[in-house]
Point group: C2
Amino acid sequence: MSRSSPQAPDAQTDALPRQQRTYSIGELARMFEVTPRTIRFYEQEGLLAPSRQGQKRIYREKDRVRLKLTLRGKRLGFSLAEIREVVMMYDAMPDGNARQLKRLLEILADKRANLERQLEDIRLMRMEIDDVDQRAREVLRQLDQEA
Amino acid sequence: MSRSSPQAPDAQTDALPRQQRTYSIGELARMFEVTPRTIRFYEQEGLLAPSRQGQKRIYREKDRVRLKLTLRGKRLGFSLAEIREVVMMYDAMPDGNARQLKRLLEILADKRANLERQLEDIRLMRMEIDDVDQRAREVLRQLDQEA
DNA sequence: GACGAGGTTTACGTTAACGTAAAGTGCTTG
DNA sequence: CAAGCACTTTACGTTAACGTAAACCTCGTC
């Protein structure tokens, strides 16, 4: 709806190279189908750190990516604390202290193991679902024939 | 420790065919590394329905399987409510009402879609982890060389 | 017969991850 | 300039999934 007038003199157009675009909290919220409250909460939990322009939060590409990663992590059942652990260490990497780096590698190995287990869980659950599905269809067919 | 005396006159031995074995709440808890409280909670939430012998809960093979499925679901980030939804409908299947069965098929399709998305999420997250891992190792190598 | 290892119920506490409501700021639009 | 958005902060509320504590039974055993 805000896109009604042609040649709007807005600062942002979709034509801008991604790296320079900025987003409002509402835009991000709609993009990812979460509420602004959720985004502010993630900031409070140290997962996002948007800059400000007066009072308003300004999100850049980097923030958008972080949010995306965070939500992906959530879908996989990770806690915000776990996600933060990786994200923050990733940021601390460049000036990396060796001990920190090794710790990061440990964490990553951990997450990877976790993912592998999830893959196996998915495989098994898929089989079970297929099985139940099969049975349900058969029962349905019988009901149809009786009728 | 309760396995100390040979030829214990217990009702249960590991030699029994699985289908006839029964388990105490403590046994199950240890098997799956959860607390008895968790198992009681799942019962209260309608996910388990052990029989009783006096006051004590007696778990059979079926209950064990259910617990296993429940915990697997949890690892994949499903809520107990979602898990119950499937488990209960599965039980209601035999005397299945056609509408219920169709509903079950819907739910199953839903879960399956969910799993597929998770697979994709895992794939992506794996790549990112590998990437971060790579970078971390490189930084470490540089640090080693400088020293 | 005291006691320790398991089990039981009841009930209140806790944590994570937001939801929701209230009250204020700042722009631009009829 | 009033009205309406989109944003802000503050703060209390809510839900899921258990944890924890107290107080009680019931065995086999020392």
